[in-house]
Amino acid sequence: MVLSDTRHRTRHLFVAVMVGHILLISTQVNSRSGVPLLQAVLVTGLAETQRAAWAVVGGVRSVWDNYVALRQVHADNQRLQRELDAVRVQLQRERAAAGTSDQFRQLLDLRARLSWKTTGAEVIAGSVTPQFQSIMIDKGADDGVRRDMAVIAPAGVVGRVVVASRRASSVQLIVDRAASASALVERLRVQGIVLGHGDGTLRLEYLPVIANVQAGDLVVTAGLDGVYPKGLVLGHVDRIERGSGSSRVVIIKPAIAFGNLESVLIVLNAASGPPQAEDQVPK
């Protein structure tokens, strides 16, 4: 009798939980305007814990890197010194070139188009589920970060903000299965749509049939999706495979090495054109 009651109660609980989840999914699929309260609370709470956990891991890694893994440091120092000297010479040349290009920029009145405002952020955690490819950054709504803001790195596009809590945000990586961006093959100036594939690569789709895309072609954002400004590097064409029928599958290698990503820039006010010179850099 007691066992029967327990079983019934458990079944009722199971049904209640299932119905709860289904209702929860339904409300979001019908309207996904703002961030749900539960999501905001969970993100804030867990982001703080993740921040603390990453601080501990970072500390351990720092001890390892600074004390344990110091091998061949002298040789490395000498090699790096030589590289630094070479870079300094290169920098002198670049400065001279930059001065010239600055004059041209002023002449062409391009300054009016330099309208991006960005803020720097540090990556504090990775994805909590293998189904999603995302990162957690240490800037949130308090810093002016909002949903659907583009997140970039010096090498190119990182992704977009999907959840912005007060002090942290979740960023969907461009390689995630649900990620997409309007794109442009720079050499041909033909447009398509880049889609994340979940395996660390991107797919370029909806290209004109006559477009002669080749391996090595640079693919940049087209600026038509309302998220990513025009001209950001998405990656290079890695290879072209045959799809079903006469279609082609253009596979792109992303410009970003997501594994080494430590700090990113969030584009706060996206508009067409290249970024401002005085971007804030992460501390």
Binding site: L13, V17, I25, P36, T129, P130, S170, N260
Partner: protein, 173 residues
């Protein structure tokens, strides 16, 4: 106390998963430590703990990933509930049955998750079979290792025996 342990296990798994993903990079970690924790708690504490723990873990994953809240919750709840049920009906103390349970749970979880995502038009899952197979095997190995560690803790075997006796008494009551 059980609730506290379940919540602690899930929070630890969430943190470990995010740290591992951060270290590995690309977010392409084949193992789902949160799912492993749900299955483990369901085996240790029964179907109600599995159901509620799975629900909590899935919701947390959905919220932190920016996905639709409830899909991961539903998948994890189902897995937690039925794993807990299997854990109470059968003796799952050997490495092979445990491995099979973890791999099976991963397959069911993936089936629900991918099915719902595709049904609602949220995500594309090309070549999902390979990924799910790798994840199921990885979860199986990690799950068995987790239980090896739990078994090695002092007093665990006595607790297992006591719990089994208790369940047997309830069954024949």
């Amino acid at each position: 106390m059980t609730a506290l342990r379940v919540v602690a296990a899930i929070v630890v798994a969430l943190i470990l998963q995010s740290v591992v993903a951060r270290l590995v990079g690309n977010g392409q970690v084949p193992v789902d430590l949160v799912l492993v924790s749900v299955v483990s708690t369901a085996l240790l504490y029964g179907r109600v703990a599995g159901l509620l723990g799975g629900s909590l873990a899935g919701l947390a994953q959905d919220a932190l990933s920016g996905g639709v809240l409830g899909i991961g919750g539903l998948a994890n709840s189902v897995v937690g509930f039925f794993t807990g049920m299997i854990g109470t009906q059968f003796i799952v103390t050997q490495a092979v049955p445990r491995f099979l349970l973890y791999t099976g749970a991963t397959a069911v979880h993936a089936g629900i998750y991918i099915g719902l995502s595709v049904l609602l038009g949220l995500r594309r899952f090309d070549r999902a079979f390979v990924e799910v197979t790798i994840q199921a095997l990885a979860n199986g190995v990690v799950g068995v290792l987790v239980f090896e560690i739990i078994d090695a803790l002092p007093g665990t075997r006595q607790r297992w025996r006591a719990r089994r006796e208790r369940r047997r008494k309830i069954r024949f009551h």
